[in-house]
């Protein structure tokens, strides 16, 4: 069995009196490509943001390599540098060019040699087919290009896990393909990923497990074939109705 990387136990998060996460349990093993699906407002994004502590959970545990990252003395910044994130709105650093976006992390956070970081960054940029844009500023790029750079930026940190928060939702149908292709490549290389997505076909193709979230809890979890083709939970069935009809 592959090694466990992150286990999450009864994670809760509220904004004011609005309870978003009502005790989520989740396990991620090395090499997992896990998709999280569910209706808008079900807490998927909040859950992902809690994993990388962009939102601080109210209670529960996030165990990473045997340690609870929610403990007061835990070095959050170091943890974050190991758990990368790709955002829906790309969030490239607007003041830096493409190459600098990919080197600022390794150089300033990981304290790596600038020249070596450039080489590594260029390697990842060519992997996402963006090496020709190394000197471009983010505002000169299209959405799909930005997202590919954002993925390269996350990869240069050599993360243990990469989180994707609806990476294709802000893109048009044509550019969605470019980004999904890059993500498929990453999956085939064995990178551990947690992906919040509405791309059911993609989820079915690349993931080895899918969780369906609704109302702040994980309703159903399992192999893509179980969840997408043959869901047991009533809520999952309703949510996936159109997809299942379309498939068959």
């Amino acid at each position: 069995m592959s090694k466990n990387i992150i286990s999450i136990r009864s994670l809760k998060k509220s904004f004011g009196c609005n309870e978003i996460l009502k005790g989520v349990n989740y396990e991620i093993n090395e090499g997992d490509v896990a998709c999280i699906i569910g209706p808008s407002g079900s807490g998927k994004s909040t859950f992902l943001r809690c994993i990388n502590l962009l939102e601080r959970p109210d209670s529960g545990e996030i165990i990473y390599e045997g340690k609870n990252v929610l403990a007061e003395e835990y070095n959050v910044n170091q943890y974050r540098s190991k758990v990368g994130m790709v955002f829906q709105q790309f969030n490239l650093f607007n003041n830096l060019n493409v190459l600098e976006n990919c080197t600022v992390g390794p150089v300033k956070v990981l304290k790596k040699d600038p020249e070596e970081s450039k080489k590594i960054a260029m390697k990842f940029l060519s992997q996402v087919q963006m090496s020709g844009f190394a000197d471009a500023k983010p505002k000169q790029l299209s959405g799909g290009q930005k997202q590919r750079v954002a993925i390269a930026r996350a990869l240069t940190m050599n993360p243990k896990v990469l989180l994707f928060d609806e990476p294709t939702s802000a893109l048009d149908p044509e550019t969605v393909g470019e980004v999904l292709k890059v993500m498929k490549n990453l999956a085939s290389l064995g990178l551990t990923m947690i992906i919040v997505t509405h791309e059911m076909a993609f989820a079915k193709d690349v993931s080895n497990k899918i969780a369906f979230m609704d109302g702040g809890v994980i309703c159903e979890e399992g192999h893509p074939n179980e969840i997408l083709v043959n869901p047991k939970n009533e809520r999952t069935k309703n949510f996936l109705f159109r997809f299942i009809v379309g498939e068959s």
Binding site: N77, S131, A134
Partner: protein, 250 residues
């Protein structure tokens, strides 16, 4: 002998040109240094204010106290005229602390702290205008709050607040004239002296007005160029090696 207006102007320039030049130099020096130091004060204090409150209770109280001090500073220096501040600080320091600055040094200090008070608010607005996603992305690659500020947020903030800083610089060039109350030999003080020497108020101040205007319009142009340079072009031509990704259907 009766001189015409233009003859007076040329008389003033010929005989007192060097006075005006020196006054202009002092005005530029004080307003430039004052704006620069005020800008740095603004960046530093607004960055401190933007820090998230720590979880630790003692640190939290300390942080709140520091924020309170910054608020006091901003309110006091924005809420009183610079002319009054100049008199209070210059003579106050002489009388109660025994510190004797030259008027020019005192002028630089006063303009700096005064500009700083305004710039704290300008920078705060600038930081607020940066998309939250920028800070989140910085944190997601493991940057600390300060690293994120220095490498990501503040460079963008500085670009956004350049027009407001330019405003502040121009206001300072004109407002250094109030420093004549502590005998700083800036442009306005010099103009008054020249007027006193030749008893021609109108012509002398016309010369001063033209100099002030040339200073401010030049600075406006310089900063506009700087903004354009930072902004760069809208389009980018990639190196030829980049192929478009074609999504292959399985």
């Amino acid at each position: 002998m009766e001189r015409t207006f233009l003859e007076w102007i040329s008389y003033i320039l010929q005989n007192y040109g060097s006075w005006f030049l020196r006054g202009t130099g002092v005005t530029l020096l004080i307003s430039f240094l004052g704006t620069a130091v005020g800008f740095l004060i603004g960046l530093a204090f607004a960055s401190i204010r933007s820090m998230p409150l720590p979880h630790n209770r003692i640190k939290k109280q300390l942080m709140k106290f520091v924020n309170f001090l910054i608020t006091c500073y901003v309110e006091i220096f924005r809420g009183t005229p610079m002319m009054v501040q100049a008199i209070v600080m210059y003579f106050g320091m002489q009388e109660f602390m025994g510190i004797n600055f030259s008027p020019t040094v005192a002028g630089i200090i006063i303009v700096s702290v005064n500009t700083g008070a305004y710039m704290v608010e300008v920078v705060r607005g600038g930081i607020d205008s940066i998309d939250m996603g920028q800070m989140e992305a910085a944190k997601s690659i493991g940057m600390s709050h300060w690293q994120a500020m220095i490498y990501v947020i503040l460079p963008q903030t500085i670009r956004n607040i350049l027009p407001a800083t330019c405003n502040e610089f121009i206001i300072n060039i004109k407002d250094t004239s109030v420093l004549n109350v502590i005998s700083v030999t800036e442009l306005f003080f010099v103009t008054k002296s020249v007027k006193g020497a030749i008893y021609r108020t109108y012509e002398t101040f016309i010369v001063a007005a033209v100099i002030y205007f040339i200073l401010t319009i030049t600075i406006t142009r310089i900063i506009r160029q700087l903004e354009k340079r930072i902004d760069g072009t809208k389009k980018f031509t990639p190196a030829s090696s980049t192929m478009p990704i074609v999504f292959v259907k399985k």
